[in-house]
Subunit: 152 residues, 2 copies
DNA sequence: CTGATATCAGTTGTACTGATATAT
DNA sequence: CATATATCAGTACAACTGATATCA
């Protein structure tokens, strides 16, 4: 993954059918494309890709410990530390020791964090739209249904 | 990506709907799972994940230069060098200068390479089956159709 | 001179493992 | 004692970029 001008190395005309229809290969390629689109869209804002997931998890689920946030987002607890450092430094969340369980930090979103999320929301929506541009609206719905079945 | 015992960090019950239904996130997670399954399956054979793509491209498209192989497989020409070094060392392909264009190497599969591909084929099929286990046969067909539309 | 080819060295981001300190 | 939490250092891999030498 990287930003910049991009030229696909594969030529659809040349790719043998056995490879072209291989689910694991398709997932890898589409996922790489999604990463490129996300990174490009977020580059302007200086936001990390995981910031969005964390802010959504806080708004939709309320304040939480880092361990809970990890379970809500799927972001690994090891990686969450750096994301929260960034968000805290920017004033988008506050991180305070939990008085009820002193192992935990309680993470809460700030007003600035809510504003941040609103602007990221628009970017993320455009990325999904770009990514799924080749599909009709009903195909998109069906695709998401199938992907969700797979990810459980 | 790594092998070993694996425990999902996300708890499906806790993931907010906005994240759970996000295509770019779903692609990332499923692609990571596909990588884990492939790596685990290939670990026993000592094969790199790209070996399979290269061997298929040679069998289905005939001998070719490295640049052509890159376009057939989508494997980057920079990465292809190492894969071909491995395959050459194992005797699965032969790499010879092209007499008609001395910039090129002609890569051709050997009998040992064809045998290798047959054993990898079985592994790859099982990985796809594992990956798509949650879907019915017709859902799998529809999914592949949608993924192919996206990857063009 | 331009473009294509093969090679090599290095970079970035994701998704981890493993270890440690601290508290329940 | 086991278990959960937060943190940090480090690893493996895909998918690149950029540079160089060679040749058409």
């Amino acid at each position: 993954m990287k930003a910049g001008e991009w030229e696909d190395v594969a030529d659809p005309e040349l790719v043998p059918e056995r490879l072209a229809a291989l689910p694991s290969r398709l997932f890898g390629r589409i996922s790489a494309r999604a990463d490129r689109l996300s990174t490009a869209a977020l580059a302007a804002t200086g936001a990390h890709r995981w910031q969005y997931a964390v802010l959504v998890a806080l708004v939709d689920g309320g304040p939480a410990s880092q361990a809970t946030l990890s379970r809500r987002t799927g972001v690994h607890r090891s990686d969450l530390v750096a994301v929260l450092n960034e968000l805290t430094a920017a004033g988008h969340v506050v991180r305070e020791p939990d008085p009820d369980d002193r192992r935990r930090n309680v993470i809460a979103i700030t007003r600035s964090g809510r504003n941040r999320l609103r602007s990221l929301d628009a970017l993320v929506d455009r990325v999904q739209d770009d990514l799924l541009a080749a599909l009709t609206r009903s195909e998109r719905t069906e695709l998401v249904r199938l992907l969700r079945k797979l990810s459980d």
